[in-house]
């Protein structure tokens, strides 16, 4: 307990410096902005900003990127409530009851419930990270290469089991990502692989080029191929921000339940914001409310408060596997791992001891950022709504400009620009064929680490593959991964899973 307080003190000391406060604010602001703007997600934005973090120190850079991530959760729910268009996939369920509330002229109450619920969840999430990260780090130090390999298998499987779409295609995408990660110079023997004598390829494909190509350019092509959509915005009705006493009474148990659920689900590999919000909505629906409540689907405030608290708690605690084990549970965390590597920090359990300022500063900044978001969001809702009316034809040339400049400055040559152009086409065809690109990025980031651990494990066991199953920790992790696949493939669950994800756009 004393340690916890000391660590948090250290963290707040770092987070409350003027410079870091500024970057937390800037990140949260930018995150809200992209959460509100349709057609631009946190993955593309963080990828876009990666080149610019060369100019920053590691701590402010990561603080800013984290701010974008949770800021986007807030912004996404604003659009979900006001125009029934979830800015982020995790606010899909918020749209169900939130939009109905807005139509009844209660947009203010819905936004406040979402904002305050998220803030509460964010505070709890911060404490959960601070409490659970050190013991997990301890555990991680006991891991050998075999355990690490199995953990990555579990992480990758977990990430797709809970994602939408076909499981087998998602696993194929992971493998494709792992293979793309093989285009590099072999660390052990120094042999360049799959480089086709292109000198730039011997260092591997830049993951920024893949991320921007697939999530930036690919998505722009996909968006432009659809006819412009008509949006109905409830701008006039947003007045009376504050919810009534009865609203508070109804919403706070939902916030508590959502926070608990989100904190737990966020830690699981592949969990995080999306799963947490779906689960919380289901729980709220099953929980008996007061007599005379508005039914779910027609504007029940619990249907907004619960999932919003859950997705924010989940977004926070999904930092735990990334910070303690160096294993990203989703595409945004994969980019954070990439950002650490750019700044010369090897992600993994040693970050906490080798860079305590970074580690605890980042955690404390999340609380600071969440507080700023509440202050930022409730009074500024009018401005965010105005932004919604910015037409896409102004937006995408701006995205393209920033992406292209970023790609060029990455290595100060145009190779990455051409790579990204290629991956834009590839990304568009992934979209066309219904192949989720996020698992590909996870596989790509983890590929080199996975290979190294596999080869080291085999070297240690003298080529005996059974070592992965005879070492208890490693076996447990692999069995968990196998169980996940089996459970999701069961016919009854398969059906439910497909229904749950049908609501996604």
């Amino acid at each position: 307990m004393g340690d916890l307080i000391n660590n948090l003190m250290l963290g707040f000391g770092v987070a409350f410096t003027l410079q870091n406060m500024f970057y937390a604010f800037f990140g949260a602001l930018l995150g809200t902005l992209i959460g509100v703007l349709p057609g631009l997600g946190p993955v593309a934005t963080i990828a876009m900003l990666l080149p610019s973090i060369y100019a920053l120190d590691a701590t402010p850079a990561l603080i800013m990127l984290a701010g974008i991530y949770y800021g986007a959760q807030y912004g996404g729910s604003t659009t979900a409530i006001l125009i029934n268009v979830p800015g982020e996939s995790s606010s899909v369920v918020t749209a169900i009851d939130g939009y109905q509330m807005a139509r009844k002229g209660r947009a203010g109450a819905a936004l406040a419930a979402a904002g305050l619920g998220s803030f509460f969840a964010g505070c709890v999430g911060t404490i959960v990270i601070a409490a659970f990260a050190p013991p997990l780090t301890e555990l991680a130090f006991k891991f050998g290469p075999a355990e690490y390999f199995s953990l990555m298998v579990l992480g990758l499987i977990g990430a797709v089991v809970l994602a939408s779409g076909s499981l087998i295609k998602a696993i194929s995408m992971i493998l494709l990502g792992l293979l793309l990660g093989q285009i590099n110079t072999d660390v052990i023997s120094g042999v360049p692989r799959f480089s086709f004598d292109v000198p730039e390829l011997t260092d591997g494909i830049g993951f920024v080029a893949i991320a921007m190509g697939v999530f930036g350019f690919g998505e722009i092509i996909a968006n432009l191929s659809r006819p412009a959509e008509h949006r109905e915005v409830f701008t006039k009705d947003v007045k009376g921000i504050w919810p009534t006493k009865q609203d508070f009474k109804n919403a706070y148990p939902a916030v508590l339940r959502g926070t608990a659920l989100g904190s737990i689900l966020g830690v699981l590999p592949g969990g995080g914001a999306l799963l947490a919000s779906f689960a919380a909505y289901t729980v709220e629906k099953k929980t008996k409310g007061n007599p005379g409540d508005v039914p779910f689907g027609q504007g029940n405030i619990r249907g907004v408060a619960g999932p919003e608290a859950a997705n924010n708690a989940g977004a926070q605690t999904s930092f735990i596997p990334m910070l303690t084990l160096g294993i990203p549970p989703n595409a945004v965390m994969a980019l954070m791992v990439g950002a650490m590597t750019i700044k010369g920090i090897q992600p993994g359990p040693q970050v906490m001891t080798s860079n305590p300022e970074l580690f605890w500063g980042l955690i404390a900044s999340m609380w600071v950022g969440n507080a700023m978001l509440v202050i930022l969001n409730l009074p500024l809702i009018g401005i965010w709504i105005k932004l919604l009316t910015v037409p896409y034809r102004f937006l995408f040339p701006a995205i393209m400009s920033f992406c292209c400049i970023g790609l060029y400055t990455l290595n100060n040559n145009n190779f990455d620009v051409f790579m990204a152009a290629g991956f834009g086409i590839v990304g568009y065809f992934f979209f066309k064929l219904g192949c989720e690109p996020a698992p590909l990025l996870l596989g790509f980031i983890l590929g080199p680490m996975m290979e190294e651990n596999l080869r080291r494990a085999l070297l240690l066991s003298r080529g005996d593959w059974s070592a992965f199953l005879t070492r208890p920790l490693s076996a447990g992790l692999l069995i968990a991964a196998a169980l996940m696949i089996i459970v999701v493939s069961l016919p009854s669950i398969k059906k439910k899973r497909e229904v749950a994800f049908q609501e996604e756009p």
């Binding site: 080149p51 610019s52 060369y54 100019a55 076909s166 087998i168 295609k169 194929s172 493998l175 494709l176 792992l178 293979l179 093989q182 072999d186 052990i188 023997s189 042999v191 692989r193 799959f194 350019f217 722009i220 092509i221 432009l224 191929s225 006819p227 412009a228 037409p391 034809r393 102004f394 995408f396 040339p397 701006a398 393209m400 400009s401 920033f402 292209c404 400049i405 790609l407 060029y408 400055t409 100060n412 040559n413 145009n414 620009v417 051409f418 990204a420 152009a421 834009g424 086409i425 065809f429 066309k432 064929l433 219904g434 192949c435 596999l454 080869r455 085999l458 070297l459 003298r462 080529g463």
Partner: protein, 154 residues
């Protein structure tokens, strides 16, 4: 044989091709033994695994009925070509023509890819973006980006 899901058919084919391609490429590198895996060991295994999974997707697409055949749909050539072209032109032009000339070209080509093209708006857009990028990237972040064409700066 009738294709029952177009999307799965083509993605399966893509996975098989990519898997076999990587596996074939991996044979150029030393495979090693299980006790001493070489540089070709991991990619070869992964490639084969991907090809097998791809074959499963392919098999499913030919046997399991899907709603309406799951068509891939038409390819929107205009945005696909113009967006890609604008990025490639940016890459080619930036080192020679500098940001001042390249960014407007990028924005012009990219804007042509959209449904609505209004010259006035595009001009406003590229003035704002060029000045903004100059302020943010060159002035603010001190990144080394050529600003003016080489024939002016010599």
């Amino acid at each position: 044989m009738k294709i029952k899901s177009q999307k799965d058919f083509w993605s399966g084919l893509m996975f098989v091709a990519a898997g076999l391609g990587f596996a074939a490429g991996a044979t150029n590198y030393s495979f090693g033994t299980s006790a001493r895996p070489g540089p070709g060991y991991f990619p070869f295994g992964l490639g084969i695994l991907l090809a097998v999974l791809g074959a499963m997707v392919l098999f499913k697409s030919l046997t399991v009925e899907s709603e309406g055949g799951d068509p891939v749909g038409a390819i929107p050539w205009r945005p696909l070509i113009l967006i890609t072209l604008s990025v490639v032109v940016f890459g080619l032009a930036l080192p020679r023509l500098g940001l001042i000339v390249t960014l407007p070209i990028l924005i012009l080509i990219a804007s042509l890819a959209g449904d609505e093209f209004r010259l006035k708006e595009v001009i406003v857009n590229f003035i704002v973006l060029t000045v903004g990028s100059w302020l943010v990237f060159i002035k603010g972040l001190n990144l080394v980006i050529p600003l003016w064409p080489t024939f002016i700066t010599g």
